[in-house]
Symmetry: C2
Subunit: 445 residues, 2 copies
Amino acid sequence: MSRQLHLGAFIMGVGHHAAAWRLPGAAPANLTRPGYFKALAQTAERGKFDYLFFADRLALSDRYGNNLDASVRYLAGSRLDPVALLGLLAGATSRIGLAATASTTFNDPFSVARRFATLDHLSEGRIGWNIVTSTNDGEALNFGDQPILEHEARYRRAKEFVEVALGLWDSWEDDALLHNGHTGEFAEPSRVHYLNHQGEYFSVRGPLNVPRSPQGRPVLIQAGSSDTGQDFAAELADVIFTAQPDITKAQAFYQRVQQRVREHGRAEGALKIMPGVMPFVAASREQAQARFAELEANVHPLAGLALLADSMNHDLSVYPLDEPLPALAEIRGNQSRFKLVQELSQREGLTLRELGKRFGGSRSHRVLAGTAKDIADDLEQWFEGGACDGFNIMPPYLPEGLDTFVEQVVPELQRRGLFRRDYQGSTLREHLGLARPPSRFSQRA
Amino acid sequence: MSRQLHLGAFIMGVGHHAAAWRLPGAAPANLTRPGYFKALAQTAERGKFDYLFFADRLALSDRYGNNLDASVRYLAGSRLDPVALLGLLAGATSRIGLAATASTTFNDPFSVARRFATLDHLSEGRIGWNIVTSTNDGEALNFGDQPILEHEARYRRAKEFVEVALGLWDSWEDDALLHNGHTGEFAEPSRVHYLNHQGEYFSVRGPLNVPRSPQGRPVLIQAGSSDTGQDFAAELADVIFTAQPDITKAQAFYQRVQQRVREHGRAEGALKIMPGVMPFVAASREQAQARFAELEANVHPLAGLALLADSMNHDLSVYPLDEPLPALAEIRGNQSRFKLVQELSQREGLTLRELGKRFGGSRSHRVLAGTAKDIADDLEQWFEGGACDGFNIMPPYLPEGLDTFVEQVVPELQRRGLFRRDYQGSTLREHLGLARPPSRFSQRA
């Protein structure tokens, strides 16, 4: 069989597009309804997606104007806790992988390692963890009275956090459990290990109080495309999420990251590169573009600017709406995303108001509008052209945007031999073609 | 209808009794299996229980000998993260309440408030939070390099923690959501509130990024029976879990706590008092007692002492096994539990070895062994005698211990008019006869 692409269903609220909740027939109340999320997961599973994915944030947006007015009024900005949500979905599905973000900035490694190990047990091996550093003062203020850590410190903390989590996931060897009712021996103490980690940010003794999970550890996903972020992913991650605006840049990114993977001595194919794409699929190209235009027209500029201010961690309310984004030397938030936004703004000569509308739409991810064949052509070109290992599909409006992709684009990819017709394995690692890692302690024996 | 008693199904591993996992036919692998937990929740729901409840700990036990040997070898001591587990069970049930422990010592209030609000949405109003303070150095060492906080500091932190959580749950008023697609107004900013909490332990700005949940806030459960614990419950909790060895003491406890509830100006019936009971149910009294004796015989003394050392936060390995527990002036762990253990040990003249076996069994909760009629007689006597508002049923071995209770004891209680034949409401607050609290911000209007 030829090389197969991987697909993630990246779910955001009632759609990635900031105006999705305003569509006639949209149901913004779905944001807190269990039946809505179950149905989405089951649709993605019917489409044989590798995984369903939820991002996360730990505050409402309020960097624009340093108040909640714009974001509460114009954004469908509430978010359920993704660990509880993955617990629900583990029971509502049986094959598809389930992944979510947890911040290394405002959590502790023991709790995160335990939660994801638990989810891996409850899903029987289908869990992924998207490792992020939080970039926003609004989030910081829900966890203390200090502004957010600076970029390098965030990544130092993230790296130590992941090292501790890896140690905890290894702390029970696979054969630690004895379950010998006759002798009364439940487990073998020499196969359960203290970690005794003492580092710059964390002191964690271990072991975990959850036995080793079906995948050994969850699939590790990383989403930062800064230089530090790329290196972090090349060393530690199984999957990298990225926003790539065109195929040439994506090919260069792919080469650069895979080179770093080799430099870290990891095997070919150990890191899957998955750019985001927002597909508008319809029976004709015109219909798809009309739907896209309808949504774009409905983004309130302040909705997009509230999102952008939050991503940049920078108050944009001080700049005039009808002039271009001023040249900002440095921002404290998401730096690689900001670079894309700056390029877009200059290239197209956008005012801040226009930039707000644009960012509220695709948030600098790539938009495709066309027939199922058009979309499949584009994805095939990127995949065969060495620009990626697959895609994070970001339905602009839900649930219809996912339904349409599953009903129309997936079969087209299957016909071309690019995508599985059914799941072959049972764990997310198996879907992604990744090996199950042994415990470091078993290796020593 | 006469006053009805409330029942919680308190689930621990494969049974509360430390030797449950050794029974012929026991399946200790169930400890990490989703199907096992789903089936238990569905059984309890068939039995019309008010709620299913999971306790939690944040470390393996290692106070005995300050190493893992006794607990890993002899105890079925692993525990899944209860938030992920309640997420799973929210989807596997539709009426029963779902409650779990989260520590105020090793969590932060924003995360806990958000997780439980999320679970309340995903279960459509069926969630309870058991508020605990952690008492153990082994837990502390998974979250830093300091030993556990002292008793009063733990409770000060717990109280501030709960106050912040209550504020966050109120931060979205019930009518904050507008969902007006026509005007593009998602929610009304004047009905979403910053908290701006600055206290001794926490600085939390808020608001929560989850709208107000179906119950307004989860049912609040408290499980400490120390003087500070009682006062905490009398002021803030909806339910109190307690270990009461005999009816006279339970009646006195009931009076004392209800007096404190009145002193806090709360309504009659606002706090439900639920002692634990471990029932062995069989067709004859002899069979029930034989099953109890079989389990007691199979507790390894070190299994019980590992649990007891952990509860006391005190290394018991330094005392001779065949002499009585020495008089200890003070211990740093669970103080009310320790008092019960000391009384038991002195009353029955137990050696440390015997005490270990005994503690591994009921852990100082009350054991009932008999026919369904015997058990119902006892529960009725306590309930009608003003000793409690209901019971936390602690099945000694699972799943059979819960099956038997649901099939035999519940119908007997129903025949006597003491327990519901079906759910009347849809939320846990409704099952317990508790009002839905308004948001503090709505009240001000």
